[in-house]
């Protein structure tokens, strides 16, 4: 068995009296999709923010690719190969889809203290960006302003921007948020394509998605991981059912 690419030990974060992350232990193996589910307020967003470096942790260890990263800034973690997408779509609305992705490429192409050459026609940025847009199925919308894309396309662009940083691991925060049935179905297909190629920590609300793409699932309740296992194990776990899953949701899960 190989080493996990991400290993979280005894991670804690509290806001005043509220414990958002409560001595959490968690890991992601290379090439797997490890999903984190939990009811609203379970601390999923806090957890992602701690891993990505947007929030500092009170205590605990985060080891990524053999390196302790708990004290590193978000940009530093990005350069180590950790990429995230956002639950609330965070694309640059005034830039074209192509410019959005090119910006991710630019961030990993050396420093940006370059003041003269026009960036939006720089083929060393736009060509790889176009390739990634093609991969996620947005190739035809490259020159559309991100703000004018349909919601589902903006969600795809979210992931394209993460992919363009050349990551070793993806942190996907509810990629299907706000999506219709058909869009969700496409996203599931896409996630299955990414599987194996990337290690993925998937935060997701949509149970169909979780049970059809995840290799392992961790259930988070009040900042504590109450169970980890295969989708099948989680589906049949009595404690999880009681804490979180409604009976009908479980039985209709794909």
């Amino acid at each position: 068995m190989s080493e996990p690419i991400l290993k979280v030990e005894d991670l804690r974060k509290s806001f005043g009296g509220v414990v958002a992350t409560d001595n959490l232990n968690f890991d992601v193996m290379p090439g797997e999709i490890h999903a984190v589910i939990g009811p609203n307020g379970a601390g999923k967003t806090t957890f992602v923010a701690q891993i990505a470096g947007m929030l500092s942790s009170d205590s605990g260890k985060i080891v990524f690719n053999g390196q302790e990263i708990a004290n590193k800034t978000a940009p530093e973690r990005s350069h180590l190969g950790l990429a995230r997408s956002f639950q609330i779509t965070s694309v640059f609305k005034d830039f074209t889809a192509l410019e959005n992705v090119a910006l991710s490429i630019q961030a990993h192409a050396g420093h940006s203290f370059r003041f003269w050459k026009r960036a939006s026609t720089d083929t060393s940025l736009t060509e790889p960006a176009q390739k990634i847009l093609d991969e996620v199925g947005l190739g035809g919308r490259a020159r559309t302003l991100a703000g004018n894309l349909a919601h589902g396309q903006q969600r795809q662009l979210e992931i394209a921007m993460a992919l363009a940083t050349g990551p070793k691991m993806l942190l996907l925060d509810e990629p299907t948020a706000g999506m219709g049935t058909e869009e969700s179905e496409n996203m599931r297909k896409f996630l299955n394509e990414l599987k194996g190629e990337y290690s993925i920590l998937l935060i997701e609300h949509d149970m169909d998605t979780v049970f059809s793409v995840a290799d392992r699932v961790t259930v988070l309740v009040y900042g504590r991981g109450i169970a980890t296992g295969t989708p099948e194990e989680i589906r049949n776990n009595a404690e999880v059912r009681a804490a979180y899953l409604g009976e009908d949701e479980v039985t209709t899960g794909a």
Binding site: T73, P75, H79, F86, D94, T96, A107, A119, R143, T144
Partner: protein
């Protein structure tokens, strides 16, 4: 990408400015040369403010500080009989770069209203420092006896030389800032305006880039101050008063925030209106206010934004 119409307007404006001294001499109204020289100086200052305000969402309410610092570089050195233009210029650039770096490191830790207040407060500190410096005239100001000396053959005491130096500086800074805005550096500044968290998540340590943008704006505005000191041959802490900072913001808004060239026309409109209205009344701002309100309500993107043509790379 500028539309064809906008490129035409810029070229025609440039030619008109270049021809103005000839025209003014022909009709024997040298006053216009002086007026347009002032307009161009404030154009440079307003453009430098737009560089951070319009593109970087750094709403500096103390930008006139650098106008004052530039003028002090000329005036104080001239007071000590250092009239060599190159020396004065180096002191001006290094001085404004250093001060904007220190103030940027303090103020860029904040955002929104806090950033506005902190830049306001820091600039006012320098204003009161200027007032307390009796050696340089305090709040009465100090005449600058001699303009900067660059070349024997290019004596700035000649009105035309002064005018063309200002036009040249305006042209060069406009081109350089436009290039910078569209470069990789500019993309980082604009991206952090739009969504700083996302910029950090894709790997940009944005503070560094924002600080450098803040310093560029400070130095360019310092150059405007350098020219202002030379043009007016007078040094006064009034140059860095918050009222001046407010005027610069108005010029940016009137011209169009985040358009870079708009503020050139914003400065022109503001100074011309001031000149025109103050012919009628001492309380010209009373009439200027409503005009500003109309503009903000009905043309949020300013004069430049009213022109047709998009600025981005999109197909739609």
């Amino acid at each position: 990408m500028l539309s064809r119409l906008k490129i035409w307007i810029l070229m025609v404006s440039f030619l008109l400015l270049a021809a103005l001294p000839f025209f003014a001499e022909a009709i024997d109204e040298p006053f216009y040369v002086d007026l347009m020289a002032r307009v161009m100086i404030f154009s440079i200052a307003a453009m430098s403010l737009d560089f951070i305000l319009g593109y970087g969402a750094m709403i500096s309410f103390g930008h006139a500080l650098y106008l004052g610092l530039g003028a002090y570089a000329v005036g104080v050195l001239a007071f000590y009989e250092v009239t060599n233009g190159w020396t004065q210029l180096i002191v001006c650039v290094l001085g404004t770069a250093f001060i904007s770096m220190v103030l940027g490191l303090i103020s860029l830790r904040t955002n929104g209203i806090y950033f506005i207040m902190i830049t306001f407060a820091l600039a006012q500190m320098f204003y009161f420092l200027g007032i307390s410096l009796e050696a340089f005239g305090g709040d009465d100001g100090l005449p600058i006896d001699s303009r900067s000396e660059f070349f024997e053959a290019f004596d700035l005491n000649e009105t035309w030389n002064m005018y063309y130096l200002i036009l040249g500086t305006l042209t060069v800074t406009a081109v350089v800032l436009w290039k910078a805005i569209n470069s990789r550096f500019g993309m980082v500044v604009r991206g952090s305006h739009s969504n700083d968290d996302r910029m950090k998540a894709i790997g940009f340590p944005t503070l560094k880039y924002r600080l450098v943008a803040f310093m560029i704006a400070g130095v360019v505005c310092g150059l405007a101050g350098f020219l202002l000191g030379n043009l007016t041959e007078f040094l006064t802490p009034e140059y860095m008063h918050w009222f001046r900072s407010g005027e610069l913001m108005i010029m940016v808004m009137v011209g169009g925030m985040g358009t870079l060239f708009g503020p050139l026309f914003g400065a022109f409109a503001y100074i011309m209106l001031e000149d025109l209205l103050s012919n009628f009344t001492e309380y010209w701002q009373f009439y200027f206010g409503p005009l500003l309100i109309l503009l903000v309500l009905f043309a949020k993107r300013g004069l430049w934004g009213m022109l047709p043509g998009k600025e981005d790379m999109s197909d739609e």
